[in-house]
Amino acid sequence: MTTTTYTGTDKPNYLNWKTSVASWLLTYDHKRIAILYLVSISIFFLLGGLAAAMIRMELATPKGDLLTSDVYNKMFTTHGVIMIFLFLIPSIPAVFGNFLLPLMIGARDVAFPRLNLLSWYFFMAGAACVLIALFRGGIDTGWTFYTPYSSSFAKGEVSLAIVGVFLAGFASIFTGINFLVTIHKMRAPGMTWFRLPLFVWAMYATSLIQVLGTPVVAITLLLVAVERTFRIGIFDPNLGGDPILYQHLFWFYSHPAVYIMILPAMGVISEVISAFSKRRVFGYHFVAFSSLAIAIIGFLVWGHHMFSTGQSIYAGIVFSFLTWIVAIPSAIKTFNWMATIWKGRVHWDTPMLYALGFMGLFVIGGLTGLHLAAMATNVHLTDTYFIVAHFHYVMVGGAIMGYLAALHFWWPKMTGRMYPEGWGKLAALLVFVGFNLTFFPQFILGYMGMPRRYHSYPEEWATLNVLSTAGSSVLGLGYLLPVIYLTWSLKYGKVVTERNPWGARGLEWELVDTPPDPHNFERTPIVTRPAYDYNHPEEPTGFVPKPRPVVVGGKDG
């Protein structure tokens, strides 16, 4: 490596240069905000996982014996709301997007550091509302809050939970606005659009959805809360309203939202596959544009959640058609990743294991999405465990695998410590096996017609459900392991001082200290190379740092 590697624990980095609690809670540093998010969403993931464990335990026997039906209903609502709004939507964007975006494009911070912090506070306030709603008796509407059940029938603190989702939604909007502007305006000189790492492209597409979609669900849920209080009747047919309208508005956001969850993971996979195959991502332009295509076409397919509601058949046909179309960019990505491995030098490290796992599981999830996109089969499968299996394959098998890949890949950069590789591999294996054991049987159950959100079911489905429950404990263990060994590694892990432990390409690896300097780059870099330039190993870095402008005033006020 050319420039000196004067990194190490002695040199101040973003973690240790200030240590007071206030310096964390009032930080404007994108890297610290990422850590704040990381800690918060990890807690929510465990909470959501606990609810999942309760669900699976109840479903181990056909009779509803462990929980009452009300408690069960509250469990899956809790599970869905926490996993979606408090974990998966903020996961990769708010943690890795925040941490990496400025590093990847050669900026000192995101465009609006204060908005970034505000976003975290909104998120925490929203989470607090949701949690209070849960402690004060819970809600049982399902994560979809369908009317008129949620607006006129459900008891409990539905409105408070809605306010929580509303606030978390604005946190997401703020993140989106911040990233859009950051990507447009904060790129280092020479960092042209087509030199951007594909993770940045994915985050750009994600941010578009966050800004264009989230306000709609925010106001729609607010209307449900208003309806609960004032009985206006917007969504209640007994008061002159139309419950289907709610579904239109809800899915206008919530379908694109599934791409908020998967696009960042796809970005991570592009980075990881390239770094561990030591090869430029095949068909860079196609992968980049397919992210945008997914984000945009993804807005036009929401009606595929409503085929059996009595939505107009003509509207249904259009929605179904566009759903088939939106599957194509995902196909493009998948095949390009495969072609990236082709003729590469594949290193089987933990992040790569997760990335390979992602490809296998996401593809199963995506392809079963096609069963649902086809109207005739959709009607049989909708609201059965087939749907549950489909979305866990894409969200857990896809998005969370991507998240774990990212966590392991950038862990040394973020913390200056390496995770224990052996444990990492074991956990990846457990997650993969446990996952399939948990959710594959659900496809079969779904095709046989087992309805979702049921807390008891006919005897003949017991065996497959037992299998699923057994699988979920393996899966739970698989998730528990990283929690333990990553925490352990913070103190006992191998210290990483070199900038680029993986020998990867990208500004964050080649020009940024490990752990990063509070100001990211010593000097603003000038980029002269495309991303993933693995073909010229003799030229170690493609970036010429330029003198840093004088800056008055420090960070963190």
Partner: protein, 107 residues
């Protein structure tokens, strides 16, 4: 946006002219609302046309989009375009749902 920057100061006349237009359109829309025997749908069309007109000149002149770079155009357009998509697709369901009891327009 790029080039001559945002600090470009526009002549006062731009704003005054815009204001007069807005006032004229305000009067027009109120008056149009009181023309007797205008069918309901036409009233809505007139009112909305004037509203779009007013909004456009506010965006163009007060918000300086006319003098801004491509990016501002893009963002200004995106919001309204997406709103149209939502309206169009949602209405597509409602108007093609034969079983939806719709009262339609009288007169």
């Amino acid at each position: 946006m790029a080039g001559h920057g945002e600090s470009h100061v526009h002549p006062v006349s731009l704003y005054t002219r815009t204001l007069w237009w807005l006032m004229a359109l305000l009067v027009a829309t109120v008056v149009a609302g009181y023309i007797p025997n205008v069918p309901n749908w036409l009233g809505v069309v007139i009112a909305l046309t004037i509203a779009v007109w007013k909004a456009t000149i506010v965006i163009m002149n007060f918000m300086h989009v006319r003098y801004s770079g491509k990016l501002a155009w893009l963002f200004a357009g995106a919001g309204f375009f997406w709103l149209l998509i939502m309206l169009a697709f949602a209405f597509a369901d409602y108007v093609s749902r034969p079983w939806e009891p719709f009262n339609g327009w009288p007169e």
